[in-house]
Amino acid sequence: MVAVVDVQSVRKVFESGLDGNPFTAVKDVTFTVAAGEVVCICGKTGCGKSTLVNMLLGIDPPSEGTIRIDGLSPSADFMKMRGKLAAVFQTDRLLPWRNVIDNAAIGLEVAGAAKDDRYAQAKAWLAKVGLGGWEQAYPHQLSGGMRQRVAIARAFVTNPKVILLDEAFGHLDEVTAHKLRQDCMALINESQTAAIVVTHNITEALELGTRVLVLGRPARVISTHELVEIRKRPDWAIQRDQVRSDIFRNIESESFG
């Protein structure tokens, strides 16, 4: 399988951290993701997951190492990557002055798509996330879960090669989060996008991932758990509990990292 995402020895040092000294937020991260794969990234709070996401998005370049997405560097080839990468963040990050359809269509608008075209596509994606009929509403008229659905539609609308979810279901109630997670996964599978799912919810990682990466603090991969094969096994439930306790132990062992 050809890797869509190729991250090699990536490091991020902020010139001035909280105490004014250089601060290493990401120490050394290497992994690849192929189309159709869902790689979950787990780790303690503050271990550098969002920093990694920002580097993958290209809005913050790595201090060392290389990131290739579809053969290009998201930061050095910034403009060439338009439409290929999309993200859903922990908060919806909708633009409050735009209605639902204009929020969902913004990726296409930035890319210069004609009005009819981008509305047609945004409408279709809104229907897929269950928001048919809400096109004209404004974000403040929607619930948190609905707003996050708009954010998901906004991410998918450009047909990205890679989709990044950074704690995308983190601040929703458990029932809503569960439903949204499943809907989002269905869309990822359907579109065969490569997905990177950042979460500190291990259950979520085991539910969604084809692979789980556990990060230490500061970020480096301390263990990798392949799930595709063992998920097919009849004793998957037992296996899953085993993996869960492995992941838990690995994260725990980092407490002084």
Binding site: N54, L57, G58, I59, F78, M79, M81, R82, G83, L85, A86, A87, F89, T91, R93, L95, P96, W97, I106, G107, E109, V110, Y138, H140, Q141
Partner: protein, 275 residues
Amino acid sequence: MSSDASKPLAAPVSADVRRYVRWIGSQRDTLGTAIVIAAVLLAWQFFGGLIPKYIFPTIPTAIAKFQDILTLDGTYVAVGQTLIRILGGFAVSASFGILFGVLMAMSNGFNFIARPLIRLIMGVPALTWVLLGVIWFKNMELRVWFFMFIVTFPITALNTYDGVRAVPFELYQMTKSLRPTTAGLLRYLIIPAATPFIFSGLRLSLSFSGRIAVFAEAIAAGTGIGAEMMLTNQLFDTAGLIGWTLILIVVLSLMDGLLERIERRWFKWRREMKD
């Protein structure tokens, strides 16, 4: 009436009455203004008779004079001249101020020079600028425009600057990740996000424009409402001064009302959020 105690007390009052009470409540500002105006008129009527007429006219004299002013063709010419000056000066200073503020917020290098420059301009007394304008420019229009510009563009610029700086970083990251051009970033995020700040700067700067335009007309132009007011002063025509002031107030409130209306339309989403 029903004896059901769980019903709120307001229930027997008809919906129409409640709507009317709510309407009165919403008109509180208007009501207050009306009371103040009535009080002023009463005081005027009472004291007017005690003071020599040329110092302060009686209400009938003032009304008669006001009617006189309204019948003169010259009045409308003067109002037109002043309006054009205010709107023209405001348009120039507003566009320049917004551009200046955005540049300040987006470029550290520009800000390094621009901030002290603005502080300097705002530190110089307004009278100095009028007098400088008179020395520097022969053309009357240029004098007035220069004065309006120099006083109001820093207001718009600083408000715009604050607005751009206040754009939420999370929204900035999200928009940036869509990879817009710089123009796109401005259009999709920065300008709309800064608009509440820009609008408050614009309203402030418009009200300053109005005051300053007539001030400059009085001192440096010789035409327009300001010059007419100066003339009444030279003729000890207090009734005329009151009449012209009334006209000026109406013109300025109409313009502010217009801007407020535009602002309301623009902020449909915001107004609803507050409700």
